[in-house]
């Protein structure tokens, strides 16, 4: 028979992984916004217009979406 201690340890590991991934997912959007803002600030400082800088920083959003879908795809496997 499987030890209760082992089962508890397995359950706690699963909870830990799920919790960590949830925290990562929750803070991801905030990190992307912060990165975009820093990126735009630098571009504007070099003389680019605000609109163009915003358009260029949209690449971060694309990358974020790609990474998220890649991770989901990997976890599904």
């Amino acid at each position: 028979m499987v030890k209760i201690q082992d089962l508890l340890s397995i359950a706690s590991s699963i909870v830990r992984i799920t919790g960590s991934l949830l925290i990562l997912w929750a803070t991801f959007g905030w990190k992307v916004r912060k990165t975009r803002r820093a990126f735009e600030r630098e571009l504007i400082r070099q003389g680019m217009s605000k609109e163009d800088a915003r358009e260029l920083s949209a690449h971060y959003k694309v990358l974020k979406d790609q990474l998220t879908s890649t991770l989901i795809q990997a976890l599904r496997r």
Partner: protein
């Protein structure tokens, strides 16, 4: 009866194995993802990339390039980012190009040993640092 006992022992061994694997995975996987995300999505990384793209744009403008062309070229320059995401996607889905080097059975074993040695070294280095 003895069969039942050996089945039970096997089950216990498997559970212990799963417990050990999950114990390692539960710390390593989130740390790995955090590392990958942190390398690209952080204020510092954004600032560095912005500085590089800004310098590129400024250089183009100063050399007399029209604004819309300069912006378009900077956009292409930044597009490398998106291709990074594509690369990761391909790597995960296994659609990427695979290079096969024919080294023979002995060569394969040697490479395997070399990889194992390198991994062990890295683990030892990491544990020493921690």
């Amino acid at each position: 009866m003895s069969e039942e006992k050996s089945e039970r022992k096997k089950g216990m061994g498997e559970a212990e194995e799963v417990r050990e694997i999950l114990g390692v995975v539960s710390t390593q996987i989130p740390a790995l993802i955090r590392g990958v995300v942190g390398a690209v999505f952080s204020e510092e990384a954004g600032k560095d990339m912005g500085r590089a793209a800004g310098a590129f744009y400024k250089e183009l403008r100063e050399s007399g390039m029209p604004e819309d062309v300069a912006v378009k070229m900077t956009q292409n320059y930044i597009g490398v980012f998106t291709s990074l995401g594509d690369m990761l996607k391909e790597a995960v889905s296994g659609k990427g190009k695979r290079v096969h080097i024919n080294v023979g059975k002995e060569g394969e074993e040697e490479i395997g040993e070399e990889i194992a040695r390198k991994i062990k070294e890295k683990i030892a280095e990491k544990t020493e640092r921690e």
